[in-house]
Amino acid sequence: MIKFEQVTKKYMTRKAIQNVNLELTKGKIIGLVGENGSGKSTTLKLIAGLIHPSKGTITVNGVKVDHRIAKEVAYLSELDEYYGFYNVGQTIEFYASQFPDFNLEKAEEIRTFMNLDRNSKLKHLSKGNRGRLKIVLTLAREVPVILMDEPLSGLDPMVRDSIVKGLISFINLEKQIVLITTHEIKEIESILDEVIAIKDGEIIGHHNVEQLRSEQNMGIIEWMTTIY
């Protein structure tokens, strides 16, 4: 479903991603792990068509990625970039107007699940509730590819738990693939099908997580410490 062929991405002279080959199939939740600056976010942005490879090709469902990929991909950015004067309901409606694949009914369902008040102004939302809203906006899109850049970062344990439960509950694993970058491995490891470790722009490991446990008696954190 997602394929990288010898992909390199340079920023000026620095190589953010180097010669990456990758093949990912649908129906899975995949974790992208690695230290800061290792190339995790760059990988997501390349799939989202927000930046372009310096070398190599990326395809989603056989189609080469360019800016038009936005209709196939929902991308949750690490940043908060919403209109503070909107309230929650208006933000949801704005997203619905921007993306034809946006399912308003599902958005309402996720919003209720996340305990968000429709009438709260965005500028008054806590960081945790902004994190929850981002999940609503991302998971309400019925697209084959969902990309989430650090969805748990900086949030308290209660919020992280509600986000993890939200993922389990609202991702459609029959049709979708989900890529998550994260440092919070402990919280998320029980919902990952696969894990990819990135270091200095190169993929140094890619595993089915249950296989890792059954064949090597290792969890993701132990595996990371042996290869990283």
Binding site: G27, S190, I191, L192, E210, R213, S214, G219
Partner: protein, 128 residues
């Protein structure tokens, strides 16, 4: 069942299967009871639905549960199978215990005597 964490270094599908088996043994899940849907179970224990699916398949293979089309997954009503599972888990637990005792150098006699006096005193293990 929500507050116990899974060991991150062992397959979660089999840990979840063990948990469900224990619930059946303790009678928390009874013969003929419906298991939560895959997604519902995933949410309760914070586990990927694919993994829960695998657990259910595994239990189905052991004939402990059966999936009825369009209705869900149910604990078997075949008492013979549940008795067998009960017996198997007992043997497994005992062999694990005995192996550990042998590894520490206890003889069969010591194990037997120790176990007997332990049970007579009515001491139950309390986890600290």
């Amino acid at each position: 069942m929500t507050d116990e964490h899974f060991h991150s270094s062992q397959p979660i599908y089999s840990q979840l299967a063990d948990r469900i088996n224990r619930q059946i043994l303790r009678g928390e899940l009874k013969s003929g009871d419906k298991l939560p849907s895959v997604r519902e179970m995933g949410m309760r224990v914070n586990v990927n639905p694919n993994t829960v699916q695998r657990t259910y398949r595994e239990l189905e293979g052991m004939k402990i549960v059966e999936t009825k089309r369009g209705q869900g997954t149910f604990v078997t009503e075949n008492q013979e199978i549940l008795r067998e599972m009960r017996e198997q888990l007992k043997q497994k637990e005992i062999s694990h215990f005995v192996k550990g005792m042998h590894e520490m150098g206890y003889s069969d006699k010591e194990i037997e005597a120790g176990l007997q006096s332990f049970l007579q005193d009515g001491k139950e293990i309390t986890n600290q």
